[in-house]
């Protein structure tokens, strides 16, 4: 079975995000970029499936400009066998990403498509669901546990009510949640080996995909500063304070 894993280049989770002065977006100058942490988890799961003998080949795919190849090299250092770089310099909306990933899926015909549940830059949490819908294949999102048995996958999903176990037919899109696994540290020899693994570069036109019309970012602003809390002495005061704020 082939496993396809999508990875996205995002601002590193340790970076304190700065909004540009004119509100036109987030300042990316000199900012450290990394692989989306949920995609790392997806990649780790794919590599574990390969190590367990369940998967024969792991293919990483990314969408982005020239520098996104750095994240593909990280994916190859994790243990992916080869990578596909869909070169796009413009901002990509979730629907456009889903269309591109659908085209890559159809070309590669993997038995499983693993993704992070969402990217930590825009937090949309849409691409996995949209890709599965466009492909007309099952989806199992927020996976905290994944077991493959023949052409079925059992997935424990982390949902608001607790844990939900579902079984899906393969091929399917499975999106990784935080507790699916703990990604390994990249080893220096693996980083060197990754340099020699093949990366195929394609454009949206090569894949026959057109960008979806849709989203325009009109303004970016930082979240409001958190106000200091207040201490109350009695339950009555608490209720009064909550009423004052219109919360009860």
């Amino acid at each position: 079975m082939k496993v396809l894993v999508s990875v996205k280049r995002v601002v590193d989770y340790n970076v304190r995000i700065q909004v540009k002065g004119d509100g036109s977006g987030v300042n990316l100058d000199g900012v450290k970029m990394s692989m989306n942490p949920f995609d790392e988890i997806a990649m780790e799961e794919a590599v574990r499936l390969k190590e367990a003998g369940t998967a024969e080949e792991v293919i990483a795919v990314t969408i982005g400009g020239d520098k996104a190849e750095e994240q593909l090299r990280s994916a190859l250092a994790f243990g992916a066998d080869r990578a596909i770089h869909v070169k796009v310099n413009e901002e990509v909306s979730p629907l456009t990403a889903a269309r591109i990933l659908k085209a890559v899926f159809e070309k590669e015909q993997p038995g499983l498509f693993l993704m992070g549940k969402q990217a930590i830059d825009d937090d949309n949490n849409q691409t996995g669901q949209m890709t599965s819908a466009l492909l007309g294949i099952p989806q199992a999102t927020f996976a905290g546990e994944l077991k493959i048995d023949g052409n079925k996958a059992t997935v424990v999903r982390e949902v608001d009510a607790g844990l939900e176990t579902i079984e899906v037919d393969l091929p399917a899109v499975v999106t990784a949640d935080l507790r699916l696994n703990e990604p390994r540290y990249l080893k220096l020899p693996d980083i060197m080996k990754a340099k020699r693994k093949p990366v195929e570069t394609v454009s949206m036109a090569d894949l026959g995909v057109e960008a979806a019309p849709g989203l325009t970012v009109t303004k970016t602003s930082p979240p409001p500063a958190r106000a200091a809390g207040i201490k109350v002495k009695t339950v009555d005061e608490l209720v009064a304070a909550l009423k004052d704020k219109g919360l009860v």
């Binding site: 990394s34 750095e70 090299r73 990280s74 250092a77 540290y185 990249l186 080893k187 220096l188 020899p189 693996d190 980083i191 060197m192 340099k195």
Partner: protein, 353 residues
């Protein structure tokens, strides 16, 4: 001269940082301090698995065949996380000495370089520039200087006496031994250039670690200054603290490129190698000392206490500042270069390859 690191070197740095953030957390380092050897076999195994011990071992012996410039950012990370391990001595310096051995010593080279890749070799290095030898008692092989000769021995053939260091994670030993034909690996003629290079490489390793330590202490101080409040505001918002920390940031910014320049000089055996390395050691020592001093001040002096993590890094910085040449030694080498009659000074010379 290109001062930027390539994508692979940055990936190495990031990989080592991700590893050490988890594996060398301050509370774990404190646990190691309490053990008799101060070392953790488990941690060394993990370091080996990461490929760090094989970084500069030639590919013919199973290593990665990387060089000084590839090491420098890793050594910064080693400094930043203050790991209690003589990694720089063994995997960087020791491997370089073994690599430099002439062909007639292929057996020794092969044996120890392959053991280094497998994580089965701790090397200790004794040179008169340091009165004590780091990790001598637990080393598998001790490389010793004697009148410019290179000798190799093992802990069971020497007398070691432990001496306390201001940095509780260091394990320093006085080594008493008798040079003999049996221990001699290279004669003075053969070994003198190897030792000269080793001193520069070791000072460079200390300098790179000092940059990391200075940054670590600055980060700890910024965190503290952002949390600790006085008059209803974080103390970091007051100029008295802010300027202290900004001064440290400036020193680090000025020191780091000097280290990178020195790494390039060591890698390419630059004619001004010694002066460039000494410059790096002096610049980084100054940055780290200032970071320690202003860090203590920013912590309201409690940074010196055992409970505060700052003291761990501060003491390491003080120890490394005098390691492989104190400021007198390095200033003398810079002075020798600057005051020479034909000293190639000026902007046109600074960045010559």
């Amino acid at each position: 001269m290109d001062f930027t690191f390539d994508a692979q070197q940055n990936q190495f740095r990031d990989a080592v940082r991700s590893f050490l953030v988890v594996e060398a957390a301050p509370e774990r380092l404190r646990e190691y301090w309490e053990t008799p050897t101060g070392r953790s076999a488990e941690m060394r195994k993990k370091i080996t698995d990461q490929g760090i011990t094989s970084l500069s071992v030639p590919e013919a012996y199973g290593g990665l065949g990387m060089g000084d410039v590839d090491w420098v950012q890793i050594l910064e990370q080693v400094g930043y996380h203050g790991i209690p391990d003589s990694l720089a001595e063994a995997a960087y310096l020791g491997v370089a000495i073994l690599n430099a051995l002439p062909d007639e010593h292929e057996a020794i080279k092969k044996k120890w370089l392959e053991r280094m890749v497998a994580g089965q070799a701790r090397l200790a290095i004794g040179h008169p520039i340091n009165p004590l030898v780091h990790d001598a008692e637990i080393a598998d092989l001790i490389l010793l200087w004697h009148n410019d000769e290179l000798h190799a021995t093992t802990p069971d053939k020497v007398k070691t006496t432990q001496r306390d260091s201001i940095d509780a994670s260091r394990r320093l030993y006085e080594v008493e031994w008798t040079p003999s034909d049996e221990t001699r690996v290279l004669t003075a003629d053969q070994a003198a250039p190897i030792w000269a290079e080793a001193v520069d490489r070791a000072a460079l390793a200390a300098a790179a670690q000092l940059v990391g330590l200075a940054q670590c202490m600055l980060d700890l101080s910024i965190d503290y200054a952002a949390q600790r409040k006085q008059f209803g505001k974080p103390v970091g918002s007051f100029q008295a603290i802010k300027h202290h920390l900004a001064n440290v940031a400036v020193q680090i910014e000025f020191a780091a490129p000097v280290v990178y320049r020195a790494a390039d000089a060591v890698a390419n055996n630059h004619p001004r190698r010694a002066a460039l390395v000494s410059h790096a050691k002096l610049a980084t020592g100054r940055a780290a000392r200032l970071s320690a001093r202003n860090g203590i001040q920013s912590h309201g002096a409690m940074g010196y206490t055992w409970e505060a993590d700052l003291q761990m890094y501060m003491k390491r910085a003080w120890a490394l500042d005098a390691y492989w040449g104190d400021s007198v030694f390095h200033k003398a080498r810079v002075a020798e270069f600057i005051f020479a009659d034909d000293a190639p000074l000026g902007p046109g010379e600074t960045f010559t390859a």
